[in-house]
Point group: C2
Chain length 309, copies 2
């Protein structure tokens, strides 16, 4: 660009006031500065912008008058962009790019996002669902600002704020022989046919629960989709281990399932907010995180059964 914002500002001020001195006063500058800036602007553009009247100010040339109009709209445009930029960081407004672990999304996000938008009407939420690896890629690629997920396989460059612990439960068919038990132990389940939620990071978690207890599950069926797991369980294919427990005992095909606490004190899944470490967060993101802390508590997660239920 052959000119600067400062030069345009001084030029507009002088053009509108018809005086370098007044322009300087109104621009928090001095007369020599404005005079030099305008002279330089004329030189670089090769356009005579003013007619100088000795000891009585200046008037715009025809070209100066036309350029003035253009300069004003450009400056207005620039301050709109400036305003936009500050809004990006300083106001709870604009778009929040939220990512969520696929298995959690249908349970948690609807009410969470609805309440957040009710509280902050100027914010649009852009929700993307993905598996854990995809979430990390999105965070690192700047495609999402924050991810709602479990603290599984999180590298050091990812910051994680825990929101709630979800202990594992056994999921069995309503007509399963263990369905009426108050609770059940891993040892009892181990020989039974196991239906594994076979997703990149959850897989290792479920298996580790058994191996850490010196057991080995009898994996007979696998699926990547929680709803398929529930339907398989309801249809007697075996049992499953789940942490997120929907507020319904009906599978998608109408079959019934039951969730049972596990007797052992097992390491829970930790639900929380993952974001890239070391990036300055926007006020919109801060507001969203605060909202999550209020809405998703250790005592309960919207869309899921609470621990004591």
């Amino acid at each position: 660009m052959r000119f600067s914002f400062r030069q345009l500002e001084y030029f507009v001020a002088a053009g509108e006031s018809g005086s370098v001195t007044r322009a300087a006063a109104g621009s928090h500058s001095t007369q020599p500065t404005v005079s030099a800036a305008i002279a330089k602007l004329e030189r670089t553009l090769g356009v005579q912008l003013f007619v100088r009247h000795h000891a009585q100010g200046l008037s715009l040339t025809p070209e100066g008058r036309r350029f003035l109009a253009e300069a004003k709209t450009l400056l207005r445009h620039a301050s709109e962009v400036e305003r936009f930029a500050t809004t990006l960081s300083d106001e709870v407004a604009g778009t929040l790019d939220l990512a969520c672990l696929v298995t959690l999304a249908p349970l948690v996000t609807p009410s969470l996002v609805r309440e957040f938008r009710a509280e902050h009407p100027r914010v649009q939420v852009e929700l993307v669902e993905s598996h854990q690896q995809g979430l990390l890629e999105r965070l690192r690629g700047g495609l999402s600002s924050v991810a709602l997920t479990y603290d599984l396989q999180l590298p050091a460059d990812i910051d994680f704020e825990p929101l709630a612990d979800l202990p594992p439960h056994a999921l069995v068919a309503a007509d399963h022989r263990l369905a009426l038990r108050k609770r059940v132990s891993l040892a009892e389940l181990a020989p039974e046919p196991h239906i594994l939620l076979d997703l990149p990071t959850s897989r290792e978690y479920f298996l580790s629960l058994f191996t850490e207890a010196g057991l080995e599950p009898n994996v007979t069926t696998r699926s990547e989709h929680p709803e398929t797991i529930r339907t398989l369980v309801a249809n007697g294919f075996g049992y499953a281990i789940v942490n997120a427990r929907p507020r319904t005992d009906t599978a998608l095909d109408g079959g019934r399932v039951v969730t049972l606490p596990l007797r052992e004190q097992l390491r829970p899944m930790r639900l929380g907010l993952a974001s890239l470490r070391g990036i300055r967060e926007t006020r919109t993101l801060t507001a969203f995180k605060e909202h999550c802390h209020r809405s998703i508590t250790p005592a309960g997660v919207p869309g899921m059964l609470s621990p004591e239920e």
Copy 2:
């Protein structure tokens, strides 16, 4: 403005290439310069624009991506303004603000402007008519770029390019007792009733013709309008002195007039282009001046009778 064009340019280059180094290469700059500029931009805007990947470039944050779009349109706008500015001075295009002495305008400007516009279709001509004092005010106030007028009462700050000399003629009715003469002298005319074109500067010129010859005109009627003068002459109110001679011997009311050369060698009116001294002229103005020199010659002025006719 909290940011500069340079910063935006570097930011856009880096955002589109995903690399500070490539951005620097494409911007005729160096990597530390671009790095520092972006860092400063982020600091002043309070917005994190990039996620830095060690040893493998950077990606835009969600905010960075949105700001990038705004920055690009702003830069495009700025270069349009820059282009506009250079067009103002470097191309025969845009608007030419032309002023013309009222008495000359109907005779000279129609064909002059028509031919000029045919030669330069990208130019609009904005024509304003005024008396001599008004022309000077328009030039000094930057309202017009050039004035087509006589070299009467021109102060030192006005530049004048002569185009053609218009010697004074006597204007008499077709049935006037002198109408059939080949030429007449001022002395013969002096006693006759004189109809004076009573305009600020022409007035002094006409009277000076007589006083410089030791004569005094017998002014019986005055008017500010050349067409009124011609009608008065045609109706026998007296004679008039004129320099601009229309290509017709009919006055507006249908009466006939005759123009006669004057026997004396009298100082002619000098038709030319007046402009403000010391202002850099645009290429459009240069083209117009050249066109005038070609079109308005000592041998003839469009719309007027030529000297030898």
